[in-house]
Symmetry: C2
Subunit: 101 residues, 2 copies
DNA sequence: CGGTATCCGAACCGATACTG
DNA sequence: CAGTATCGGTTCGGATACCG
């Protein structure tokens, strides 16, 4: 699934997540992503635009219809993955691995 | 979302997809993924096991409960992404880019 | 402000060869 | 058969500097 290849790249999901709240300018996105370097931001944006997930408007960048549709599909998965990540941490904390304590 | 980082790696989704149909041995997975090299397969499997998505049984590797839950969430997204990929191709075919026709 | 060009180190893919 | 070790080649991330 090419989609996961794309979304797996650094900041791609973060950008989509941010833009789900409305249009943002280049700088705004940059700041909202803990000052990601412009190089990467530029790359991700171009990719996402090329894939029809993002578009430019007067207000800056924003999700396309397709992008919004994707976000709707992503949201439940995001929630699930949070639960999942939590459980992982708990498991790791419970398993002593090799440390004798 | 760490999940996407994991699933974005090569073959990770393919492996899950295959195992969704039932347990498989190392070789079987390998063959079902157009003979992915054992190095990569081994890496992916270890990661997925470490994350509680896969487990070993007598029949080989199989999805855990968690893995199956993930798969259920993934399926609709997979279907969506197919549509999306198709539209992308159509768009690219329709836009002449720079070619004068 | 918005975006591009360059460059380097790190991470990743994957072939091959090898052990149990 | 199942899995590991090693080692290139390539891609990716990201800092910096720079242009419109």
């Amino acid at each position: 699934m090419a989609l996961f290849d794309l979304l797996g790249r650094s900041w791609a999901l973060g950008i989509i997540w941010q833009l789900a709240n409305g249009a943002m300018t280049f700088r705004q996105v940059q700041e909202s992503c803990e000052n990601i370097s412009p190089t990467i931001l530029n790359r991700r944006i171009k990719e996402l635009v090329a894939c029809g997930l993002l578009e430019r408007s007067d207000q800056g960048y924003q999700l396309t219809k397709t992008g919004e549709a994707l976000f709707r599909h992503l949201k439940p998965l995001g929630a699930w993955s949070l639960q999942w990540a939590d459980k992982l941490l708990v498991l790791e904390a419970a398993e002593p691995l090799n440390n004798e304590t």
